[in-house]
């Protein structure tokens, strides 16, 4: 029984308790995040690929009668997501600016989000998978409301209610799933669920899949359940946006991969048309919405919605290649969008505005910032050399392999790459290139802290981009046969 996973969850919580009791917030938070990164790297390295399957298991009995226990375990996908989570957490905490009001609350919120998402990824029990994710709801609400910018209150409300409703629908779906198990063997343990599904001993109604799709979908901002995301990300303080768009959002996809993929194969085939329709909505429609944006933060917010489309495309292709691509894309998008939001926040802190009409030519005064943003932008455009490209191309191969039904989605997807180039280059052009307003002459370039916390995100992105097989062989362990 390995305690490393529970340690991953406990460390942030412990740190936040200490902060509540008056320890120095930033120090505590940073050290917890750093330790977490170390642990997850260690886990990632120590995972036994030849054995595969679930490892580092540990279990606590919670409701044994109902077959609900807190079970932690990890396979390749989990570890990848944990790595993502701890990377982004550290970067987010590291890049957090000087907080003058209620510093403690700020870091406690961040740590809670981190703990929640880590717990969600590490849980083998569906109920805890869900519960841990909810842990982030209130902190996000508080952070956007207190330290956000722009029309932050409305954004916070919308996101909170939307996600609350979405996750409750999800809960209902999970309950329905649970109840559709023959009463003797009721359980929420993923492993047993998979076994049952593999053995064909239980066949949940495909309606449940739809409920789950709506529930998870609205957490992932699947079109048309996306309208909470852009304002929330645009208004949230950079670290929150990083955590939420980078990691938390991936939970919905993670859940679909873990639950829908193994348990609802027929249903997924049956409703693939619907899903593909929504995917096209995500890529094409949201893509063009993104093109129409006039502010940097909104552009990135919408782009993060659009890119979910590729991941869903990968899932919808229902084969090892596509799902693999989706998983890699989850990792890649998490890092790249986090970097983008981090730099967004840096720019906002310097200029106080992200309106294209007021920016321009900043590369002159903040060359390093410009360079980093260029990396982030190119990553999200899907340039080879970044993990995003690897993910996207795998998604395309997978989708192509699915069959003729995918012709249109694939064409749309490949065209989506052009769209994202359109808005990203536009964003870069109107932020960092072109003539610069005189009022920005005094801007200072990025601080070393911020520089390194962004590099922390970009380096893994490029490593994986150069050698995707590194992740491929990890995440493949999570793909149901």
């Amino acid at each position: 029984m390995s305690l490393l996973l529970i340690l991953l969850i406990v460390l942030p919580l412990a740190a936040s308790v200490l902060i509540m009791l008056g320890a120095a917030p930033r120090v505590m938070a940073l050290s917890a995040a750093f330790l977490n990164l170390l642990i997850s790297v260690a886990l990632f390295a120590r995972y036994d690929l030849t054995a595969g399957g679930w490892q580092f298991l540990s279990e606590w009995k919670i409701l044994p009668k109902l077959g609900i226990n807190m079970t932690l375990g990890a396979d390749g996908l989990t570890l990848t997501m944990l790595l993502l989570a701890s990377l982004v957490t550290l970067s987010a905490i590291w890049i957090a600016p000087k907080i003058d009001k209620r510093e403690g609350v700020y870091y406690v919120c961040l740590l809670f989000i981190s703990a929640g998402v880590i717990g969600a990824f590490a849980s083998l029990d569906v109920l805890f998978l869900y519960s841990f994710h909810e842990l982030a709801l209130i902190p996000t609400f508080i952070m956007i409301g207190v330290w956000g910018s722009g029309d932050r209150q409305a954004a916070a409300w919308k996101a909170t209610i939307y996600l609350g409703l979405g996750s409750f629908i999800l809960l209902i779906g999970l309950l329905a799933l649970y109840l559709s198990i023959p009463a003797v063997s009721r359980t929420m343990d993923l492993r047993q669920l998979d076994q049952m599904a593999a053995a064909g001993t239980f066949h949940p109604s495909s309606l449940i899949y739809l409920i789950l799709l709506v529930g998870f979908g609205s957490l992932v901002s699947l079109f048309p359940f996306h309208s909470w995301a852009p304002p929330a990300y645009a208004c949230a303080p950079a670290p929150t946006a990083m955590m939420h768009a980078g990691v938390l959002k991936k939970f919905g996809l993670y859940g679909l991969i873990r639950i829908a993929l193994p348990l609802f194969p027929e249903a997924m085939h049956q409703f693939n048309g619907l899903l593909l329709l929504l995917v096209i909505g995500n890529i094409l429609y949201i893509g063009y919405v993104t093109v129409a944006q006039k502010r940097l933060d909104w552009t990135i917010g919408y782009s993060s919605v659009m890119h979910m489309g590729y991941i869903f495309l990968g899932l919808a292709s229902l084969n090892i290649i596509g799902v693999n691509g989706a998983m890699i894309l989850m990792f890649a998008h998490g890092l790249s969008v986090a970097a983008a939001f981090a730099l967004c926040g840096e720019i906002r802190r310097r200029t106080g505005t992200l309106d294209y009409s007021e920016l321009g030519g900043l590369a002159k005064v903040t060359p390093v910032l410009g360079l980093l943003f260029g990396f982030a932008a190119m990553a999200s455009v899907g340039l080879p050399g970044f993990a995003n490209f690897a993910g996207e191309i795998l998604v395309f191969f997978g989708a192509t392999a699915y069959g003729p039904a995918m012709i249109l989605p694939v064409i749309v997807g490949v065209w989506g790459v052009v769209i994202s180039a359109i808005y990203m280059l536009r964003a870069y052009r109107s932020t960092f290139w072109g003539p610069m307003m005189a009022r920005w002459d005094s801007l200072t370039d990025i601080t070393p802290t911020a520089l390194w916390s962004v590099i922390l995100l970009l380096v893994p992105l490029m490593i994986v981009g150069f050698y995707p097989q590194l992740l491929v062989k990890m995440v493949t362990t999570a793909i149901p046969r």
């Binding site: 939307y162 084969n319 290649i321 795998l394 290139w433 003539p435 050698y467």
Partner: protein
């Protein structure tokens, strides 16, 4: 040191140089230049060694992605006659241009950034050359795209430069859209998850599906060809190349004349067997090339920017190559023209750069004049390049062009005549440029005080002038092309070469008499000056159609999905709550009344519901 090591080193040295500059020596100019040129020279040595040792074979690196049977994307280097020849071209021209750049960029800010960009480009270009499969090629294809983006946007403070860079990237992306689909189509056609592949070796044998269904094959090939259209600036995606002249001249010379834009043609040469196995596709390719050659030639006659003229001539020449690829019996033909063109066009751009420097960054030819005395070396080398380009006998360009002519006559008369006209235009606009720039009397005080460029720039000119003249001679033809495929002159009636010669002389003479000491262009055709209004048309499409659609989407997203569906339902709930709360009147009797109503209702329901 075995050959594969050499190959790998050759490929990665420039990347290392770029990385070093980026992370270590960003500050120092000489270090940056030194590193890059060093790496370039290493690649030169490597390239030539590989060529000399005729080190053919597949050098396996690692599996970039590997799902075993279902899909595996190997990262291999392919060395064969084709890639070796191309390798020589790239590795030979690059260091020369790099050296030239030292002089050209001396004064510039962002010197290091510029050289890092060049190194990155060299790496990606070599990647394209050595790639063994379509995906690898696509990867480096994108990378040259981004390096060209960086280099065009070197003067990012200039709005025009920034826009040009953006446009170049996007237009290429559009081409790559087709390229990607083509790759997918080839993969699925060759078996997809059941052992689909995309190594050139494999796809060049038509897959069974393609044999049964030639139309599908044509589609696949044309999709790949889209990549060429984008990268090699063929009509209708040619618009970016003239604008890319916003970049520093060495960039225009190396990327946008000699090597990168030729990658498209190289791609066609790579897939030549499959291309030629599909007549429809070949015809489409040929016509695209021909139209491009002609159109660009026409446009070149009315440009006033010294680099603009060259840019259009580049497009036109690329058109030749593409036509060649469409019509030839072997990949050697387009490659041959690519080969010769690389040298003389690179040379021409460098001379133009030297002129521009001499003119203190004045690019309008109508501000120049009478420079032949003031910058003799530049002038002479320019003449070599210009004659080679115009297809003057005994100059390299003549031979390659001649072959393309012959072959087009053999296969397709229509195309032949188009190409002939284009061939006639070339000497005309080149002569026009020469007359206006070098002859006559100065038209501005810049040209009064123009001066020859430093040795660091003139030596490269001389170095390039030599191959510009000789590169077409049979020796080179034999050395570099017989392994690729036959270049034997097809049997053509005597009038074909005569026509060719005739149009050459005609163009030359016409330009000579028209532009002999004139102050301003005697012929002004707005339709041509405005590039057939194609750019404006595209601009309009982007602004109105795409922009409009985007606005529409954003509007519906804001007001329908978010407005009505989301906020609407929220408001509904809020309203209901607000209304319900007014039942809570605070008056006991009201409560008693509701109570009574409740009682009656409850009893009634309990009694009568089934």
């Amino acid at each position: 040191m075995n050959l594969s090591t050499i190959a790998w080193i050759t490929l990665f040295v420039p990347l290392v140089a770029a990385a070093l500059i980026l992370f270590v020596t960003r500050a120092s100019k000489p270090l940056a230049a030194g590193l890059v040129i060093l790496s370039a020279l290493i690649t030169t040595i490597g390239g030539w060694t590989l060529f000399a040792k005729s080190a053919d074979g597949i050098y396996h690196g690692f599996n970039w992605v590997d799902f075993g049977h279902a899909l595996s994307i190997p990262f291999d280097l392919a060395l064969d006659p084709l890639s070796r020849t191309m390798l020589v071209v790239v590795t030979t021209i690059s260091p020369v241009v790099f050296i030239y750049s030292i002089g050209y960029m001396k004064e510039e800010v962002g010197f290091a950034r510029f050289f890092a960009g060049l190194a990155l480009f060299l790496f990606s270009m070599l990647g394209i050359v050595l790639a063994n499969n379509l995906v690898m090629m696509f990867i480096f294809w994108e990378l040259v795209g981004v390096s060209s983006y960086i280099l065009i946007g070197h003067y990012y403070q200039k709005a025009s430069a920034a826009d040009a860079a953006k446009q170049a990237f996007l237009v290429n992306r559009i081409g790559d859209f087709g390229f990607m689909l083509g790759i997918l189509l080839f993969w699925i056609a060759t078996g997809g998850p059941e052992g689909g592949t995309f190594t050139f070796a494999a796809i060049n044998h038509p897959a069974p599906i393609f044999v049964q269904n030639p139309a599908l094959l044509a589609v696949a090939v044309v999709l790949i060809f889209c990549g060429t259209v984008g990268k090699s600036a063929q009509f209708p995606l040619h618009v970016w190349l003239p604008n890319s002249m916003e970049g520093p001249t060495p960039v225009s010379s190396l990327l946008h004349a000699a090597t990168m834009v030729a990658a498209g043609v190289y791609l066609l040469a790579r897939i030549f067997p499959i291309l030629s196995s599909s007549p429809e596709a070949s015809e489409i390719v040929a016509w695209t090339g021909a139209i491009t050659a002609l159109g660009a030639g026409i446009l070149a006659t009315q440009q006033d920017d010294i680099k603009g003229i060259l840019a259009y001539s580049t497009i036109s020449q690329l058109g030749y190559m593409v036509t060649g690829a469409g019509l030839a019996v072997s990949a050697a033909l387009p490659m041959f023209h690519l080969f010769t063109h690389a040298f003389f066009k690179c040379l021409l751009f460098l001379t133009a750069g030297s002129v521009i420097l001499g003119m203190h960054h004045e690019q309008n030819i109508w501000k120049m004049g009478g420079l032949k005395g003031k910058m003799p070396i530049t002038f002479l080398t320019y003449c070599c390049g210009m004659l080679a380009l115009s297809g003057c006998p005994f100059f390299s360009g003549h031979y390659s062009k001649d072959l393309i002519m012959a072959c087009s006559w053999e296969h397709h008369r229509g195309i032949f005549w188009v190409v002939v006209i284009a061939a006639g235009l070339t000497p005309f606009y080149m002569m026009r440029q020469a007359m206006v720039v070098f002859f006559g009397k100065p038209r501005s005080e810049h040209s009064e005080h123009a001066h020859e460029s430093p040795l660091v720039m003139t030596i490269p000119l001389i170095l390039l002038a030599i191959p510009a003249v000789v590169a077409g001679y049979p020796f080179f033809e034999h050395t570099f092309f017989h392994e690729i495929g036959t270049l034997s002159e097809p049997e053509v009636p005597a009038y074909v070469p005569q026509v060719f010669l005739g149009v050459f002389l005609a163009g030359l003479a016409l330009a000579f008499f028209l532009y002999r000491n004139v102050e301003k262009d005697p012929i002004r055709i707005p339709f041509l000056e405005n590039r057939f209004y194609i750019d404006d048309l595209y601009f309009w499409i982007v602004r109105v159609i795409q922009g409009g659609f985007a606005k529409l989407c954003s509007f519906t997203d804001r007001w329908f999905i978010d407005g009505i569906l989301v906020r609407g339902s929220a408001t509904l709930v809020w309203t209901v709550g607000f209304a319900l709360r007014f039942l809570q009147l605070g008056n006991i009797q009201a409560y008693a009344l509701f109570f009574g109503i409740g009682v009656v209702g409850l009893i009634y329901m309990l009694l009568h519901v089934r």
